[in-house]
Symmetry: C2
Subunit: 190 residues, 2 copies
């Protein structure tokens, strides 16, 4: 049996490296999370890391992967409840301590488009079918002109911006106001 | 007359440094745009840069400052036209080649909250009064329950996400679909 692309051999090393990466990102931010710094903290060599991940970005994205539970997106048919679930999910993802890596990943993205398409896939593309199914289940209440992909983009963008920006504005916003706005935009108007 | 906090003395140096910063960001990304790299490209010393900007983040934020023309936000009273203007403005800002710096700046923000509050101020807080005035001017058409600050947050977040993410999804979205969604969310429903 071939080893899987030089990846997991000793899983203790994998786990130590991923944990060190998450700690460095949470404590010191994206730029400080270099392969050298991770290697030092995890007590492994830089080549041991490069045997497992193809780049610093790949390592950081694996360590901070968005973890969306698609099961939880089964529609209830209540539009407000269902939209709120998507909004809550993204707000939760973006409030994790490792969230600070996402802007950094996107900032480097111009130089490494292939490394980034995975994270984008996890963040939004994989959720689109569930989102479309949810809107279809609530269809009598939803304006047929609505483009589900735009709505999901706007939800993710709003949650992302809030998580990234609010700590610096001192503003406190109602938890559900993004849900309110989205549900209002979906209404079928006579 | 006191020199203004050690800032502009020889404006040619200022300009050379800002230009080098913008070029490096556009060509090599946020992480590669270090004080050393900027100094090398601009043909100045690192101390000459530190005399003018208090940190790398301060330099990068000055070089890539969002430039919102508040004059252009005078309301026409046509809700769609006025919302579209704000959406277009943010889409334009986020499509500039130096936009790639913004995620990096936000990624480092946990370590330098004071440096970042300026950029946040420019990005959104300064625009809030104009946005509120615009909604008030269109008030007969706008639901009074709408929170203008939430709506502006959602506009900025949606434009930001689209600019950051779309290059990697291969999706092409209608230019005005964010405007459509926002105007729909504002409607007064009988």
């Amino acid at each position: 049996m071939e080893p899987a692309k030089g990846r997991p051999r000793d899983t203790r090393i994998d786990e130590a490296v991923l944990r060190a990466t998450r700690e460095l990102i949470s404590e010191e931010g994206f730029s400080a999370t270099t392969i050298q710094a991770v290697a030092r903290r995890a007590g492994v060599s830089a080549p041991a890391i490069y045997r497992r991940w193809r780049s610093r970005l790949d390592l950081i994205m694996t360590a901070t992967a968005v973890d969306l539970d698609e099961e939880s997106f089964t529609p209830t048919g209540d539009l407000y409840v269902d939209v709120k679930r998507f909004v809550d999910t993204y707000q939760h993802q973006f409030s994790r301590p490792t969230f600070v890596a996402l802007p950094g990943v996107l900032g480097e993205s111009a130089n490494a488009p292939d490394d980034v398409s995975d994270v984008v896939q996890r963040l939004a593309q994989g959720v689109r079918p569930a989102f479309r199914a949810m809107l279809a289940a609530a269809s009598p209440a939803v304006d047929p002109d609505v483009n589900p992909d735009t709505v999901l983009d706007v939800i993710i963008g709003a949650c992302l911006y809030r998580a990234a920006i609010h700590p610096f504005t001192g503003r406190v916003a109602k938890a559900d106001d993004i849900t309110d706005l989205i549900v209002r935009s979906l209404r079928r108007v006579p």
